[in-house]
């Protein structure tokens, strides 16, 4: 049996357990409502969930753009210039160890409890790994490649477009994977903490009234969001990085990032 079919079987098994365990009464419905009652709860309040999903997706989209765009841009600058690297990298790395969620209450004071404070928090949250990965990706480019390009008469901008960017893509993508996932975490967590809209808010509100099916309907939506994001990144990786197997530098840097070296404290 291939690993893939095995994975599918495990997922199907878990879904089945989700339905069976609460129904047979092995687990009280309060702890884990059955899949069917969860889906029913979500379906009955579809407009409410739809609206919450729209709010959350909007926040995620904006934060993602800021975190990834800003992270790649600043990472590229920091990675390619030695002086900012020496100045900024140690700061960013130690900032990374701080559980940034402690900043969120401050943001709500500054920006209110609307979307702005969520976007600010999630952007910063996802920005750091993206920036660190991009800087690492640029730093680990084989200088021989740039020398070879120079010997063939490549100008500065040709070297950037034709060598530096393609060489950095695998590492940057692995940064985006972590950064983007953290953006989703950041938005949902901040909605759960202090807010008045979004899926995180719904989950948290239904939790206070012990309405488990509605809580789990929200959880399911977040799960789908994360899965969709993962599929998107996988698709981009396939498109952009057929050659990954060929580079030692790109690969080891990607491994560093992937293995949680850049995983922050929450």
């Amino acid at each position: 049996m291939s690993a893939k079919t095995l994975r599918h079987l495990i997922v199907i098994g878990l879904i089945a357990l989700w339905e069976i365990l609460p129904r047979t009464g092995l687990i009280p419905e309060l702890f884990l409502p059955s899949l069917s009652s969860t889906l029913r709860a979500g379906w009955n309040e579809a407009p409410e969930y739809g609206h919450a999903l729209a709010v959350t997706l909007y926040e995620v989209a904006i934060s993602m753009a800021i975190a990834c765009g800003g992270g790649i841009l600043l990472g590229a600058i920091v990675g390619s210039l030695p002086r900012p690297r020496v100045l900024i990298m140690p700061m960013v790395s130690s900032l990374y160890a701080v559980p940034l969620v402690i900043l969120y209450p401050v943001f709500t004071v500054w920006l209110g409890i609307g979307t702005e404070s969520k976007i600010a928090f999630a952007s910063i949250y996802g920005f750091l790994p993206t920036m660190l990965a991009t800087a690492a990706g640029i730093q680990t480019i084989d200088p021989q490649l740039i020398l070879a390009a120079r010997s063939m008469g490549a100008t500065m901008s040709q070297r950037l477009v034709r060598v530096i960017i393609p060489a950095a893509i695998p590492t940057v993508l692995s940064g985006l994977r972590v950064g983007g996932a953290l953006v989703i975490v950041g938005v949902v967590v901040s909605e759960m903490l202090i807010s008045s809209a979004g899926i995180g808010y719904l989950i948290s509100r239904y939790r206070t009234i012990l309405d488990s099916p509605h809580v789990f309907a929200g959880v399911l939506l977040v799960l789908f969001m994360a899965m969709a994001f993962n599929a998107l990144i996988k698709w981009i990786e396939r498109k952009a990085a057929i050659w990954q197997t060929g580079t030692r530098a790109g690969q080891s840097a990607a491994d560093d990032v992937g293995s949680g070296a850049v995983q922050p404290a929450t």
Binding site: L145, A148, R150, S151, I242, T245, G250
Partner: protein
């Protein structure tokens, strides 16, 4: 008399490709001290010659090659290629092959060979045709669609040579191109290089640490001393061409190799 157009010369006549190095020095300024890498190096290389550069590690062979390629500027002296200075890399005059094949891993073999042409905006069809021709010359017909990680070390270095040749420069500079290859591959690559060289008539400057390789390949061997690099000998290799494996055990070969070795031992 026969019309000229019907005469096909066995070997194309040597073309432009003269290299002149006059009193060239290179000083690297580091934070702690100034390193004199090269001290007043002068040499003249005639078009179409196969010249090998040897010398102890750190004597400035790569540095000299970098300067001939326009990748680095000398501190003192002048370098001319085809009679003109080379203030920046000029792929029309000089092609460079490095020790690590330095292929772009995200491009196929043929895209790698096309790279220098793409930089100059050559049309796709023409690029492809020239790349095919260059790949054929290095014996890689039919491997154009592979990525570098799907090629052996020797094949990668062939692609890299094809890339150096694709713009048909009169001068080809090679910095230890076969150093990373195993001995057998290295021998065949040497023969291949000689074949390509005699088919194209280019001036080749070739750096190596292997004295056998040096004598086997060269018309002339230039021996440099340890830092600061100077030229201590410039010897002609009178062995006939084509070179054969049997020559390696001949007396003439041994004498030349000994002479080079004595210089290097003295200065290292």
């Amino acid at each position: 008399m026969q019309p000229l157009a019907n005469v096909t010369p066995l070997k194309p006549p040597p073309r432009a490709g003269a290299i002149e190095v006059k009193n060239v020095g290179q000083i690297f300024k580091t934070s702690t001290q100034d390193v004199v890498a090269l001290d007043s190096v002068s040499l003249e290389i005639k078009p179409g010659r196969f010249v090998v550069l040897v010398g102890p590690s750190g004597c400035g062979k790569s540095t000299l090659l970098m300067m001939m390629a326009g990748l680095r500027q000398q501190t003192t002296g002048t370098i001319t290629i085809n009679g003109a200075p080379i203030p920046k890399p000029d792929p029309d005059r000089v092609g460079v092959v490095f020790q690590e094949a330095s292929l772009f891993p995200w491009l196929t073999a043929e895209e790698n060979v096309e790279f220098p042409l793409a930089l100059r905006g050559v049309a796709k069809a023409e690029r492809r045709a020239k790349a095919q021709e260059a790949l054929k010359l290095v014996g890689l017909d039919g491997f154009g669609k592979r990525h570098p990680h799907e090629l052996s070390g020797g094949m990668k270095q062939r692609v890299s040579i094809a890339r150096g040749l694709v713009q048909d420069p009169p001068v080809l500079l090679m910095d230890e191109p076969f150093a990373a290859l195993d001995e057998q591959t290295r021998m065949t690559m040497g023969d291949e290089l000689l074949r390509i060289w005699s088919a194209t008539g280019k001036t080749v400057v070739f750096v190596t640490h292997s004295l056998t390789e040096a004598v086997y390949l060269a018309d002339e061997v230039i021996v440099m001393s340890a830092r600061p690099g100077r030229i201590v000998d410039h010897l002609q290799v009178p062995l006939p061409r084509p070179r054969t494996y049997e020559m390696l055990s001949g007396d003439a070969f041994g004498t030349l190799r000994d002479r080079i070795w004595r210089h290097i031992r003295k200065s290292a």
